[in-house]
């Protein structure tokens, strides 16, 4: 049977519709959810799938959810079969080993019907603030996934639009933040119902067959774009590596080693040689690793193509059986999205830099710097405050890297200080640029941040991050950025490095679990910028001066890293001294 292709205008309308459906889901979830991690940080993604479980459209506030949600829909279909679902059924899951990634990412899947016919699935995944476990936000950093919170296999949370109150009760009883759960569920439900309504309206308007065919054509369209882009990359094998500073249990580095094979219009990604499964909480389930691979490559393949299953077809993966990037039960995994994805992405970017050096960009901070704090308020009430103070991106062939922008794996927004202070017993004291934190280069890395808040009533904080041993590496002769630092400051001004390199040169793992803060103590985090692109001494001295005048870099750094000397008032270039420095 050969179907005539859909006319170009209808194709365009469908393309926009798939985009719009997901955008509307996103707006609803943002505007009506209760957890600030959803409404302020936008740590969620929404997607639609066709009846054959292929991704059709997605707004990815978190690109790392991109391919991972695919495994969720498959898990739902595996458990219930497509015939075992009815209109208004919503399946919840978060099991890292059955369709999920880490326990906090809760995925809700709803089949959508046009009359009796299945026309697709609406999927809404959000990071829930807390589902129990050994530390706030699931950041227990134990050695067993059971310590990371309530594990939900695919279960019907709604049947025929009716909530299963028993299941809800179990979730409420297992969370440190039960007050968010009902409201967040309502918001997810609003998003799913919107997708159902839009897809049904599209089926009515254009016909079910046209809609389903349009889904298929959209996937082929994206695949054509991706393959054409791969064809432009020289065939060959490209190797690179990056590492996480520690798994929080031992102090050993944990390595990602990747071999990228480009051949014609296919890419094969092989992680053979990467470290085995580790005891600590940074193991990554297959779904999460896959998502990180697709996200990383997407930047250099089809940045503007409709995000759908067509992106995945030309890319294949090899993951060794015993590998921290292919986690098996009962390995703990809470850090997989925020620490591990970044390392996978950074290693792949460094491999890409060998394949297309002129087009590559230097690695980013490669960490989400996700912290979760249990904060004590008046009357001893405990709430959970969380944020993701970003670092910078690497320099590019055309310009300096982005400063303080969430890593490629996500596109979440920050928690405004004024929102945080309305909600929690904290004072946010700073979120500004950290001078000299970009890797020096002809185009320098974007800057990292100084983030700081005070616990008014004390509490405890968990965080998982890296780049405290080496900063973000440069490419094409660019320099690396400085390391990240975690500090606890007492009300009397006494400061202690609680993660990273201390004054005496010793080093402490930047994976902290339930670290205690007394009332009035402050937590300060210095994130790092991106790596530099090209030799720093090739940077135009006028741009270096501008950076000094704006305080992006200090005069000392201008001299040491860029070989640019300024006049004593710091307002202009000392040409002779600069020439002498650069000719050394």
């Amino acid at each position: 049977m050969t179907a005539t292709p859909i006319d170009p205008v209808t194709f365009e309308v469908l393309r926009n519709t798939f985009e719009y459906v997901c955008a509307r889901m996103t707006l609803i979830l943002k505007k009506s959810s209760f957890s600030p991690i959803l409404s302020e940080n936008l740590d969620f993604s929404n997607a639609i799938y066709d009846p054959d479980l292929r991704l059709i459209g997605q707004t990815a506030n978190c690109p790392v959810h991109l391919a991972a949600m695919h495994f969720s829909v498959q898990a739902v279909a595996r458990k219930f079969g497509k015939d075992g679902l009815k209109p208004g059924d919503v399946v919840v899951l978060n099991d890292p080993y059955d369709g999920g990634t880490h326990i906090n990412d809760v995925t809700l899947t709803m089949p959508v019907y046009d009359g009796d016919h299945l026309i697709g699935f609406a999927v809404s995944r959000g990071h829930w603030m807390d589902l129990g476990g050994g530390g706030p936000g699931g950041q227990g950093f134990g050695t067993h996934v059971a310590g990371e919170g309530l594990r939900l296999p695919p279960l019907k949370l709604y049947e025929g639009y009716r909530l299963n109150p028993d299941l809800l009760e179990i979730m409420l009883r297992n969370s440190r933040t039960p007050h968010y759960i009902k409201g967040d569920l309502q918001a997810h439900m609003g998003a799913l119902l919107a997708a159902e309504e839009e897809l049904q309206a599209t089926a009515r308007k254009y016909g079910r067959d046209t809609l389903l065919r349009g889904m298929g054509e959209m996937i082929q369209y994206t695949e054509r774009i991706v393959r054409a882009a791969i064809a432009n990359i020289p065939d060959g094998e490209y190797h690179a590596a990056d590492y996480a500073d520690s798994d929080g249990i031992s102090d050993a580095k944990v390595w990602v080693r990747v071999k990228l094979t480009v051949k014609g219009t296919d890419i094969h990604v092989d992680f053979t040689g990467s470290d085995g499964q580790v005891a600590g909480a940074i193991n990554s389930p297959y779904a999460n690793t896959t998502a990180a691979v697709y996200t990383a490559l997407q930047f250099f393949l089809a940045p503007d193509a409709p995000p759908n299953a067509g992106m995945f077809a030309p890319i294949t993966l090899t993951l060794p059986d015993d590998c921290w990037l292919n986690a098996k039960w009962p390995a703990p995994v809470v850090g997989c999205t925020t620490v591990t994805s970044g390392k996978v992405q950074s290693a792949i970017w460094q491999a890409v830099a060998q394949a297309i050096p002129g087009l590559a960009i230097a690695p980013t901070c490669a960490d989400a710097n996700w912290f979760v704090a249990a904060v004590r308020g008046p009357g001893g009430r405990i709430d959970v405050f969380s944020d993701i103070p970003a670092g910078g991106w690497g320099g590019t062939p055309y310009n300096d890297g982005l400063s303080v922008t969430l890593d490629p794996l996500g596109n979440c927004t920050n928690m405004p200080a004024e929102a945080a202070e309305l909600l929690y017993p904290v004072h946010v004291q700073a979120f500004d640029l950290r001078a000299d934190s970009g890797g020096p280069g002809q185009n320098r890395g974007g800057l990292g941040a100084r983030f700081r808040f005070r616990f008014l009533g004390g509490g405890e904080l968990s965080i998982e991050t890296s780049r405290t041993i080496d900063g973000s590496p440069g490419v094409n002769g660019g320099g690396s950025s400085p390391v990240q630092v975690l500090v606890q400051e007492r009300p009397d001004g006494g400061r202690e490095v609680i993660g990273g390199v201390r004054a005496d040169g010793s080093w402490k793992s930047p994976l902290l679990s339930s670290h205690r803060f007394a009332p009035g103590d402050a937590f300060e985090f210095l994130s790092t910028g991106g790596g530099g692109w090209g030799p720093a001494r090739d940077r135009d001295p006028a741009r270096v001066l501008d950076d000094v005048l704006d305080g992006y870099i200090t005069a000392g750094h201008a001299r040491a890293a860029y070989g640019v000397a300024l006049t004593p008032d710091g307002r202009s270039i000392d040409a002779a001294a600069t020439a002498a420095l650069r000719n050394l």
Partner: protein, 674 residues
């Protein structure tokens, strides 16, 4: 006396005037004078044969504010902010515009980092001043600001929305020490929580203040010197107008001042033609603006961003602009492909055919080459056909195609880009272009409208009678409009209502007084009230339009039902599980003045004495001899394409396969031939 609307666009300054005593209507169009836009305003008045002294009401739309922001062409501004928050304008909300583009950058901050200064001060979220302002420290900052030659200062302190006293202390000191420097505080601009949106809106006001002050000063001085004694009103982004005194301070509300008039006109068209859903499009010399008008109203957004992550928190018409217009330049990219825009020849030097020194080909040159544009534009100056051909040939030759093919290609590329912009507006709200009619405004609009509509499969095109001066015409049809908003946090319930009523009454009083001070009759003022409400625990609110009687009666059942219903409409869900909170209160006051809306009683123009002619026109790769019909003649009979319908300000291209007819209001309706 005359009521006059004037719109200063990127290329042309347009005028529409109507005499209330005689019903006479006139139009005017002159080139915009970018170095001193006031000259163009006076020029347009003269062009219409009017004297400023004859004008009773002058309603003015201006793109001066938008241009200054986009080009970052404003005097140096500084910011004083809380220690730790120097980079709120630069970090924004920490996200990126394009998910996967590796080389993307973010817009330059409106105030450079070197001019952003921090102060050790602190107010808590509960409104307690924890650290008062240290004047000695502040004075050192003020010394720096003085040294830097700064013209305006934005004072943006954390938590000022709940207690502005530290901001006021800083502003007072700056004003005292630096007379002549404009000072604005974030709480006075918009007392809303979330520092980035508030600071950004404040920065927009700060950088625009000196720009608009000198513009309005000069405009008023020149008008006064020519005996203007009428009222001067300015179009604002929310689709209303305000007095020039209001506009001088509320400069952040001028961002969409230009297109606002056109949308007012589009809204009127829905009443005249029976098309309820209209895609408003406006093709000027440099840009293409588009928006949706449904059921007679332009859609308003409160989440407008000038550029990515540069929000302005004022209610605004939701308009999308791209760089595509009559002046857009054709060029050949590095890969050897023909491209058009977004750069424009503007009004100086303008298209090559204007004979003002331009040599690079524009869309206007392409239209002239193809015979779609009359060589004697407006009958005022003759377009240089040879210069246009020569300019287009500079692209045709390296491409190895004929001049005509190149010109037609340029137009196709430009119209595709326009269609794409429309699709984005429609798609972002899930609308289908086939359910709309496309209204075409702007001097260059009706030449391309059918092509854009064809690309969208929109079945009908409307060229309104005054499409050539649409924003100027629409300006005379807009109401006075004023928004007020106040942060007011309370648990919803009977106990909260007395205070809510009092504060609503207070801002309502302010809004009404503002309109009355601008000349509105109290009886004409229409007020709508909004409570921003949410379920306790949410962080965003919904705008709930509330009935004045329900508020006055303390009818909590009606007020809460209005909230539940709004939440269900916007988000698909509602619940009785949660308590309700009020976060902010807002009112919009509107009053009609001047021209009545709805009826368009301008008499038809006299029948042109010019005999219908014809000229060769190039369509779809071949030359055809197409009739050229004066608008006044076309109104009397249906026209079948290919044909040109022309009057001094507009040229309607009726492509092959289309037909045109005029309705009783002299709007031209174009449809694909059955």
């Amino acid at each position: 006396m005359w009521t006059v609307g004037i719109d200063v666009g990127g290329t042309f300054t347009d005028l529409y005037a109507r005499n209330s005593a005689t019903d006479e209507a006139r139009t005017g169009k002159v080139l915009t004078t970018p170095r001193d836009r006031v000259l163009g305003v006076i020029g347009a008045i003269t062009d219409a044969g009017l004297q400023p002294g004859e004008i009773g009401l002058l309603v003015h739309g201006t793109t001066t504010a938008t241009n200054a922001l986009i080009e970052r062409s404003f005097p140096t501004a500084a910011m004083i902010t809380t220690e730790g928050f120097r980079d709120v304008l630069e970090i924004g909300r920490m996200h990126r515009e394009h998910l996967y583009r590796p080389y993307q950058t973010k817009p330059e901050p409106l105030i450079r980092r070197r001019h952003r200064h921090v102060l050790n001060e602190r107010t808590t979220a509960q409104g307690l001043v924890e650290t008062p302002v240290d004047l000695a420290e502040l004075d050192r900052i003020i010394d720096r600001i003085a040294e830097d030659g700064v013209k305006s200062v934005a004072v943006c302190l954390i938590n000022s929305y709940v207690n502005p006293s530290n901001e006021q202390a800083v502003a007072a000191r700056v004003a005292e020490r630096l007379p002549g420097v404009a000072v604005v505080t974030s709480a006075a601009v918009k007392p809303i929580f979330r520092e980035h949106t508030r600071f950004s809106t404040t920065a927009v006001r700060a950088v625009l203040l000196p720009v608009m002050a000198s513009y309005f000063e000069r405009l008023q001085a020149v008008l006064a010197s020519q005996n203007f004694a009428g009222k001067l009103m300015i179009l604002k982004s929310n689709g209303g107008m305000m007095s020039v005194d209001q506009a001088r301070t509320r400069v952040e509300e001028l961002v969409e001042s230009g297109p606002a008039g056109g949308i007012g006109y589009a809204a009127q068209i829905t009443g005249m033609t029976g098309y309820r859903n209209i895609i408003h499009t406006d093709v000027g010399g440099t840009s293409f603006d588009t928006s949706i008008v449904e059921d007679g109203r332009g859609l308003i957004t409160r989440e407008y961003e000038i550029e990515f992550d540069v929000p302005v928190a004022v209610p605004m018409l939701d308009i999308r602009s791209i760089g595509a217009g009559g002046g857009s330049l054709g060029w050949i990219d590095a890969g050897g492909s023909l491209r058009v825009g977004p750069m424009s020849a503007g009004s100086e030097p303008g298209p090559a055919c204007y004979g003002r020194g331009g040599t690079r080909p524009t869309i206007t040159d392409a239209n002239l080459v193809l015979g779609r544009l009359s060589p004697d534009l407006s009958g005022k100056f003759t377009l240089d056909h040879e210069a246009a051909r020569k300019a287009v040939a500079t692209l045709a030759e390296p491409l190895g195609i004929s001049v005509e093919a190149c010109a037609e290609g340029m137009i196709r590329i430009a119209t595709e880009a326009m269609a794409q912009a429309v699709k984005i507006v429609l798609a972002s709200r899930g609308r289908d272009p086939r359910d709309f009619a496309l209204a075409s405004f702007g001097g260059a609009g009706p030449m391309h409208a059918c092509a854009v509509a064809a690309a969208l499969q929109t079945p009908a095109v409307i060229v309104p009678r005054y499409s050539g001066v649409a924003s100027a015409y629409g300006a005379t049809r807009l109401p006075l409009k004023h928004d007020e908003e106040v942060f007011h946090f309370a648990a919803f319930g009977p106990d909260a209502l007395p205070q809510v009523q009092a504060r609503l009454a207070a801002i309502e009083g302010q809004a009404v007084a503002t309109l009355v001070a601008q000349g509105a009759a109290l009886a004409d003022v229409l007020v709508t009230r909004v409570m921003r409400m949410r379920y306790a625990g949410q962080t965003f609110e919904v705008d709930v339009g509330q009935d004045a009687k329900a508020i006055a009666a303390g009818d909590t059942a009606a007020l809460s039902e209005a909230f539940h219903a709004t939440h269900a409409r916007e988000f698909g869900v509602r619940s009785d599980d949660f308590a309700i909170e009020i976060v902010a209160l807002a009112v919009t006051a509107e009053a009609r003045t001047g021209e009545p809306s709805g009826a368009d009683s301008d008499p038809p123009p006299p029948l042109s004495s010019a005999p219908p002619g014809s000229r060769p026109v190039f369509f779809n790769g071949t030359w055809t001899d197409a009739p050229v019909i004066a608008t006044s003649a076309a109104t009397r009979a249906e026209v079948t394409g290919p044909a040109m319908i022309e009057d001094p300000h507009t040229c309607i291209v009726v492509p092959p396969g289309w037909r045109a007819r005029f309705d009783s209001h002299l709007n031209c309706i174009l449809e694909v031939q059955a």
